[in-house]
């Protein structure tokens, strides 16, 4: 059984299912309900998060399990970490991933380290939900895609779901995983509709999805960039080239096998990532493939990413900042060594 849902509704559905299944699951963050202790609202939430994603959850579960926090990221993220270590299974919402600057210690030095540092005797079953992505004119401090920062850190798992179906299954996996997991929700995907399974289901971490099969080129698209990759693949198909498009779905763990097996077949790899290019997920994947599948490559690996620059506010600059199908086609054109694609 499946039904049409938005990405946002799929998240809401997953959180409710998890909270019904396990009373140790709590939701904590800034205005995840909103309007706390406002008399006329009674127990109703005012917001349900800044994009309304968690709307209605406080009405079902009450304010003991749905906690609006002060604007105090270090405080509530630290609380979520140790609540996880002492028996709860918190879902902690970091309103924008850019705000990690205010609570990186709690994630990087506490959540990520407990299990290892304490000799495997402690666990931190924490899920951090956070909003990333450019394309919303939200400027330099509300538009970054910082998943590489967390992929770098051992002890954290990193999830970048691109569809309503995936976000629901991956979020449920995250919530019931015993390690700290950070789930990136691209703000431009919230309204996207798609088929979502009814009831409880999980999607395993470290399993990429082949979105489109092909033999001439492998394109790995991270998060919403998988759609940019698919659009480029459609255009390439018109010129007789079949691209295989892969959505890694999780960056840590990373499904290296699916990517490498695809490259062995196609001999060419483009990685599409809207994050900054240096020390990025795109760069990491390129290094892994260079390391493990060099002999199969017919051309240098190409990365289509943002430039090494903060996200600009002005709409035309932001558009230019993002990967595009044309940029992918241009990269492919240099890989095949001619200009047959300049007319695409």
């Amino acid at each position: 059984m499946a039904k049409q849902m938005t990405y946002s509704e799929a998240i809401n559905d997953a959180i409710r299912l998890a909270m019904r299944k396990d009373e140790n699951v709590i939701l904590i963050g800034e205005d995840v309900a909103g309007g706390a202790e406002v008399d006329h609202l009674q127990n109703e939430g005012a917001w349900g998060g800044v994009f309304g994603v968690t709307k209605g959850i406080v009405e079902e579960f009450g304010r003991t399990r749905v906690l609006d926090t002060p604007i105090a990221e270090a405080g509530y993220m630290g609380a979520a970490v140790s609540a996880a270590a002492t028996g709860l299974r918190p879902i902690s919402e970091l309103m924008f991933n850019d705000f990690i600057g205010s609570c990186l210690d709690e994630v990087m030095n506490q959540a990520a380290k407990f299990h290892y540092m304490f000799g495997g005797k402690a666990k931190v079953p924490l899920t951090i939900r956070t909003i990333d992505g450019a394309g919303f004119n939200a400027a330099a401090q509300h538009s970054q895609s910082l998943y590489a920062l967390f992929t770098h850190i051992p002890g954290l798992k990193v999830v970048v779901p691109s569809s309503p179906y995936d976000i629901k299954g991956l979020l449920l996996t995250a919530i019931f995983d015993d390690d700290p997991v950070i789930v990136f929700e691209d703000k431009t995907l919230y309204g996207m509709k798609g088929e979502v399974g009814e009831g409880f289901y999980t999607i395993p971490f470290g399993k990429a999805e082949i979105k489109r099969a092909g033999k001439d080129l492998t394109i790995v698209g991270i998060g919403k960039q998988v759609y940019t990759a698919l659009r480029a693949a459609d255009q390439l198909a018109k010129k007789g080239f079949e691209a295989e498009v892969i959505d890694p779905r999780t960056l840590s763990p990373l499904d290296e096998d699916t990517i490498i097996n695809s490259v062995k077949k196609t001999g060419r790899l483009i990685i599409v990532d809207e994050a900054y290019p240096r020390c990025s997920a795109a760069t990491d994947i390129a290094a892994i493939v260079g390391d493990k599948a060099f002999d199969y490559l017919d051309a240098p690996i190409k990365r289509v990413t943002a430039p090494h620059s903060p996200v600009p506010f002005s709409p035309p600059l932001e558009k230019l900042y993002m990967p595009s199908p044309q940029k992918i086609i241009d990269a492919f054109s240099t890989m095949v060594g001619d200009n047959v694609f300049t007319t695409v």
């Binding site: 800034e30 406002v38 005012a46 270090a74 401090q141 620059s309 002005s314 035309p316 230019l320 900042y321």
Partner: protein, 335 residues
């Protein structure tokens, strides 16, 4: 308690001059008309991104900045338009920035949430709650090390008073006796959460006692109260007598951001704040009572400001977007 529920007036004249009163009235009008105009244009979908409006809080920015010069620095918040105007930022450049045009104060790269004009001592609106607090003490440190009499003012919200950076910054400013005025704009809400829920303290100024510095809470829908308290705080800072927490009780006339449904607001309180407790109406009454400004003079200022704002919108609309080459400029000074 919210400032919106407070009534009562205070007819003290202090060191107010006619010239100062004119400047104050004009700045308050500029902020109000600027924000109302941005509100209207945003509703039509012509402004991209997030916008947070300052209308209703004018007396804070203006009452404080009335004591500052271009050499004094301020730090601001996501709700920064009012601070920019009060600190003397160019209105055409501000509007163009909000429109994302190359003629904007930040060349269109920052937008509403990041308007800055360092030359005017405006160290930037800020997208991160609590970020302005440590930045303000840095500006205070510069003044102290360089032995100037410049001061730094940190405008921050009641929401940020619960942030660790508030306590770290106030403590450091206190132990180093920095020339910083911490101006808490307590508008009753941090985003969609009431102050009374999110803060355990009664008053943000209560922390002054713990950090052994000066602290005061004023009715900031009343320009004169802010003006007087800020004057004393700035004077203390200039004389090397250390920081002050000045808590300004006010009200946010619009939502947290444009598009906010504001269901968390009490309608009666909002009505009272907007109609009987409007800081501009209250200042108009003062100005008339004290014979600083006549009704006609104020109407003339209103009209002058209207023309300025219309000019700013036209300037913004007619300005070009940044060239593609601007995408990767200004990332570093040199690289």
């Amino acid at each position: 308690m919210q400032a919106g529920t407070k009534a009562g007036t205070k007819a003290s004249v202090g060191d107010m001059t006619v010239e100062k009163a004119k400047w104050i009235y004009k700045k308050m009008q500029e902020i109000r008309q600027f924000e109302n105009t941005v509100h209207g244009i945003f509703e039509k979908g012509e402004i991209p991104g997030f916008v947070h409006l300052y209308a209703g809080e004018e007396a804070v920015a203006v009452g404080v900045c009335a004591h500052l010069t271009d050499s004094d620095n301020i730090t601001s918040t996501h709700r920064g338009h009012g601070h920019c105007i009060a600190k003397g930022c160019d209105i055409d450049g501000m509007m163009a920035e909000i429109f994302g045009r190359s003629t904007g104060l930040c060349k269109g790269k920052g937008g509403s949430m990041h308007i800055a004009d360092v030359g005017k001592g405006m160290l930037g609106a800020n997208g991160i709650v609590g970020a302005g607090l440590p930045l303000s003490i840095g500006a205070g440190l510069t003044a102290k090390v360089k032995k100037t009499d410049h001061v730094a003012v940190c405008f921050f919200g009641d929401g940020a008073s619960n942030h660790g950076t508030f306590h770290e910054s106030v403590n450091m400013a206190a132990i180093w006796k920095l020339p910083v005025i911490f101006v808490c704009e307590n508008n009753g809400f941090g985003e969609a959460s009431p102050f009374d829920y999110a803060a355990a303290c009664d008053r943000v100024s209560d922390f002054a006692k713990a950090y052994k510095i000066a602290g005061e809470t004023v009715d900031a829908r009343n320009l004169q109260d802010v003006y007087e308290a800020a004057g004393k705080a700035v004077q203390r800072a200039r004389k090397g007598e250390g920081p002050t927490i000045l808590e300004c009780l006010t009200y946010r006339d619009y939502g947290h951001f444009e598009g906010d449904t504001q269901t968390y607001k009490d309608k009666d309180v909002q009505e009272h704040a907007l109609q009987e407790n409007d800081p501009i109406l209250r200042f108009q009454n003062y100005a008339k009572t004290n014979e600083w400004l006549s009704e006609e003079q104020m109407k003339a200022i209103d009209a002058e400001v209207k023309t300025e704002i219309e000019h700013a919108v036209k300037f913004a609309e007619e300005s070009p977007f940044p060239e593609p080459s601007q995408l990767t400029t200004d990332v570093y000074v040199s690289y």
